[in-house]
Symmetry: C2
Subunit: 359 residues, 2 copies
């Protein structure tokens, strides 16, 4: 697959301008571009600039409001519900995470559930906002239904990611950012492009049989919850994805389960939707709400060093700390640029031409 | 495997008396018995009365304090750290969960990290305490290291369970209670007793090779994180187990990773322990800190009914809601009694004889 390399700054300027062209206020366009590009920097290409045209199509379909009135509609000392007013999740989510952080400053922790939003990029960006305040950050979101619960043939859950970011002292932060499925949809898309088979345990066909056909979702198949099958704990992945769905949407008043709005604008909206838009859930916990920050960071460094220096299976270089691969990728791509597949370049160029913005 | 059936009340009285005999105050002995037996009722036999003699041996080894001064050592409006004073986790955990609930009454949510505790039975008991207050409950704990991180041959994590309990309206509560491994250690113990092989993806040998030998842990092998191997997402199970460890112990000042004290009293304590005892983490969130409780419960019922009535894979009766099997088991065993394996009966009888308590 041919690809072309662009600098971060170049893609940032392009994305920023496109968001401005669809009517986003300057500050929000900039923030949305930063959040979207953070996925490309961290190597999660499926959630980055490759999705820009998808966001534009949602705006065209009037499912994204470029000038949202994002606001708190309910709160207690440690909680809030935010109405995203159909804004880009890329701007709604940082707003809500900041509310969680402000709550945590006063109450020790802050927990914010969000209704009426859209896809928010990678969970990692939002959870990591907490790090500079010496807080643990959490972010999760529901998403278009692609995943079948254990024993079902229906797609009732999204890949519903969870991110937990934990500050350390001298060591880089611990950042676990994971879809609650065996494999994220982005990994399946890579196999589709390469015409390769998927490992057993990633997907099932429309009847619920294990399948290795990476194109299975186009004919009624589904992604499988983390674990893959019952014998390997898929009921746990299903339960985790369900918790994300409930925290994000049943707590906030967003849509849940099979009623979560699809990302592709051409897919019709579900009927009988029980809530508003997509839901997210954010948390912030001050580490010094539990023990002195210096003690916490000292022991977090100790934790990280012990795990990183653990004996490895023959052939493996080292044991990774969650967040290591993404951090290394970010340093590399910030320096050497972000590769985009030709198909993505063509798609982005078309979006740019339409708005008079050169890629 | 031959077994004998006892009524809940009979086993409760027996356990209560044994705890009193080792010096627990009456109220704490009763609570400890209730928590321990809740595992048997819910079908998690590995964590129930079968472990009573193990707790007694920990007390003999002076690792369990029968008259602990359990207290809050740090707090903010929505957080606390509890020192369990080496008490039975079976009584320390409900104390800490109650602190979380009291915090949530005032601040919307409560989050409590615990140091200096011992094994707390099943996470489900503690998380479910929140339900009667119309709160979401969370409970997690670290545990003796039996699990290798992805790419490692060392055992650095426990099976570190997470429980999330969510109240509904007319439907029974959603209760997800899961070890962050492919299979809990208790399931492996069952295979050992039956001399059966384990499925691939549950365990590895001491060199990190996939193994089906259920006795592998006795010769340096390890349980595998949920996912089983890298290709099936074991790095996600590893990350989840790590989060449980950090929330339970790095936040509280308990031991973490390979330094968590072993449950069997004959296993020597690790050297260079960085904290006190075992750690737990609890959370309580008032549902009306987010939206009116009646609305939440209505939508939770709708969520549960939609998932429970989902189309099934051929041969499966229905899609389960997390907590369904345990609730059904509890109703059955409360009525028909709790079966104990002969080996467990022999072990319990010996404990009873020693303290003059008849099984």
């Amino acid at each position: 697959m041919a690809e072309k390399i662009y600098s971060y700054q170049h893609l940032f300027n392009f994305t920023n301008q496109v968001f401005q062209q669809i009517g986003c206020p300057a500050e929000q366009a900039e923030l949305a571009a930063e959040v979207l590009l953070s996925a490309d920097l961290r190597g999660i290409d499926s959630h980055g600039v490759a999705r820009l045209s998808g966001y534009v199509r949602l705006w065209e379909a009037k499912r994204v409001n470029a000038t949202p009135n994002i606001r708190i509609i309910h709160e207690t000392p440690s909680t809030a519900v935010v109405d995203g007013d159909s804004g880009l999740g890329l701007v709604v989510a940082p707003f809500a995470m900041q509310v969680a952080i402000e709550k945590a400053k006063k109450a020790g922790t802050g927990w914010v559930s969000v209704q009426n939003s859209n896809h928010f990029g990678i969970a990692g960006y939002h959870a990591m906002m907490a790090l500079e305040y010496e807080m643990i950050g959490m972010a999760m979101t529901n998403a278009s239904p692609l995943v079948s619960p254990t024993f079902s043939t229906e797609r009732l859950l999204g890949t519903n990611p969870i991110c937990v970011s934990i500050p350390a002292g001298e060591e880089p932060a611990f950042v676990a950012d994971l879809a609650t499925t065996t494999a994220a949809n982005g990994k399946l898309e890579i196999l589709q492009r390469k015409n390769q088979e998927a490992p057993l345990g990633w997907i099932q066909d429309k009847e619920g049989n294990p399948s290795t056909n990476a194109h299975e979702l186009k004919t009624g198949g589904a992604l499988l919850p983390l674990g893959g099958d019952r014998e390997h704990g898929s009921h746990k992945g299903y339960a985790l994805g369900a918790v994300v769905d409930i925290f994000s949407a049943v707590l906030s008043g967003a849509n849940y389960g099979p009623w979560v709005p699809p990302f592709p604008a051409y897919v019709p909206m579900p009927t009988g939707m029980p809530g508003k838009g997509i839901g997210h859930f954010f948390g912030a916990m001050r580490v010094d709400a539990f023990r002195p920050a210096a003690d916490f960071k000292h022991h977090m460094d100790n934790w990280i060093r012990r795990f990183r220096s653990a004996k490895t299976v023959a052939g493996e270089e080292k044991v990774l700390i969650p967040g290591d691969p993404e951090r290394e990728m970010e340093a590399l791509r910030m320096k050497e640029g972000i590769p985009l597949l030709d198909a993505v370049v063509t798609d982005l160029s078309a979006v740019g031409e339409r708005f008079g913005v050169k890629l």
